[in-house]
Subunit: 341 residues, 2 copies
């Protein structure tokens, strides 16, 4: 069923260009005029040229495949970050194998080992299940985003600054008490610093505060139920006081906002809400939610830059491995919307 | 830099099993006891066995890669359908190359031609840009979901039934007028039948109705602005009448719901809303939205079944191509929530 392959020589004969020119068309097309690019493109159609990339992979080890592992797609942050990462195809040409981990560590390991067997060139990891020490042992270019990253390269938001921004914004609203709701996390996770930034700002400004750290579950329904419970407790404990909430992410901030709107028909003045991420739900909510914006487009761009740099190094005749993982930090941007008055 | 390959013989020697047993471990692991699977798995780690799948691709043409093309990820329907498709990895072992088209037809074509050069085994197409006639010419297994599908296999919701369900539910609320808001689409698109199902039900039951078909734009912001404009016009035209809205999808239904809640602090009795899809936003909205549920888990499952069937056929010594594309129809499920009283 296989057709006879068309060679560079065939294309050169057909177009009258040299083989060098044909080669340049494939490897550096911009070095040719648009007109000549078109002549060669037309010739390829005429000759029914099918580039056999699998054969090329064996020859030079370039698959142009990158694996992306996200923990889930129900948190709007992950679907938007995935969107931004996939959009880099136009710039870099890398194609993405996407996997949703759903906290199944063994399935995730199996998936990664399959990707490695196919000689993918690198991985971008957003899931939290596998330690960076284990990831580093895979010995391929890796960039993590917003997760524990001690032994691998990463791109993270300046989470401490984010916590400071959120607390400072809430402080200006003169709430009686500032309340931070978040999952429990370890100090090694970048998001942990949100808690520290919030706490330090409250301490320095002598603001009353409460930090509520709880396991919020691993599905939207569990998240919603937990936040409803926390809200009931907070209402009992701080009845009559005005409350400024800083919530771990926009999906959860939206849950709290909806509880309040259902109860009061509007967001009462005694409640202020700041989310985190600037994921789509923050602007799609019934009232647009103030949020600490992760600059996802920039983060996706920097993650790819950092990955491409490592992948290109490996293609050199004498690759020089990084002596230390590189950690890039992106400053968050405070976005004021309707939930902070 | 390449290590000497570890062969089945090496693994057999190391474990004391026969080569046949080792082969079974790779091709049908469940035929071995868990204990023996573990012994072989441990041996692979010890021997640092790396299966070289690229070499296998050349040998038998199996890449185990499938391309998925979605039009965008901001419509919650697409991110949820993507989630369901990716989740089939555990069952089928196929790995997915994901691309977001964003209506850039040329980039989408280039992406597909790259995937074909890498010998992917099949494609699942949700984007609308490339006609099914052109898709069929790629001559590889394809399944489309909810788009024009004349020349390729597809899985679609019974959209006519969905329109009937929505209109029937709204009819029971005794609204003065039933209003359907949708994008303009061609009769070849499965979603077109929602309009017909709605219209026929209104006609048969002598219900007053209005069908508003407009280009709603191609981003969330454009959608929101268009729906706000339509809402203003509807308010002027049907002031004083109770209105039952059937909206093209849940993302758009949520936009309308939010407009009403911001205006009235609650959903007034004179307004009823039914969305379409049962995508996550319908239950995450400020008031849970009644919707015609596409059974996305079943649709993803059937799409993979239909694709795997075609892909397996191609691996036979004498493949028999389909004489006609197969179109599977999945019945939608009406989900009553708070927006229909």
């Amino acid at each position: 069923m296989k057709k006879k392959s068309v060679t560079f020589q065939d294309i050169a004969d057909y177009t009258g260009f040299s083989k060098t020119t044909i080669s340049r068309y494939f490897n550096n097309p911009d070095s040719l005029t648009l007109e000549n690019q078109q002549i060669i493109a037309d010739a390829l159609t005429e000759l029914d040229y099918k580039e056999n990339k699998v054969a090329r992979i064996l020859a030079n080890g370039r698959t142009e495949y990158v694996g992306i592992i996200v923990p889930n797609l129900f948190l709007h942050y992950y679907s938007e970050m995935l969107n931004q990462l996939l959009s880099t195809y136009e710039k870099y040409g890398y194609k993405f194998l996407v996997f949703v981990g759903n906290e199944k560590k063994d399935v995730e390991r199996r998936y990664i080992s399959e990707l490695l067997a196919y000689q993918i060139e690198g991985m971008i990891i957003l899931s939290h299940t596998i330690s960076s020490r284990e990831l580093a042992e895979y010995n391929i270019p890796i960039v993590t985003i917003e997760r524990e990253d001690r032994y691998v390269c990463s791109v993270n938001t300046d989470n401490y600054m984010g916590g400071v921004q959120a607390a400072s914004l809430l402080a200006k609203t003169n709430c009686d008490i500032l309340i931070h709701i978040n999952s429990r996390s370890s100090p090694e996770v970048p998001g942990y610093n949100r808690i520290r930034g919030f706490q330090d700002t409250c301490e320095e400004n002598h603001l009353a505060y409460d930090i509520i750290l709880e396991d919020l579950g691993s599905s939207y329904e569990e998240n919603a139920q937990k936040i409803e419970e926390i809200f009931q407790r907070v209402e009992e404990k701080y009845g009559g006081k005005s409350k400024g909430f800083f919530i771990s992410n926009d999906t959860h901030a939206n849950i709290l906002l909806n509880i309040l709107i259902r109860k009061y028909g509007r967001l009462p003045d005694e409640y202020k809400i700041v989310g985190f991420d600037n994921s789509p739900i923050s602007s799609e909510a019934v009232i647009p939610i103030s949020t600490v914006g992760q600059q996802m487009e920039i983060m996706a761009e920097q993650a790819m830059e950092l990955l491409v740099m490592q992948m290109n190094e490996r293609k050199k005749r004498k690759p020089v491995p990084l002596t230390e993982p590189i950690h890039k930090i992106v400053t968050p941007v405070l976005i004021r919307r309707a939930t902070t008055g």
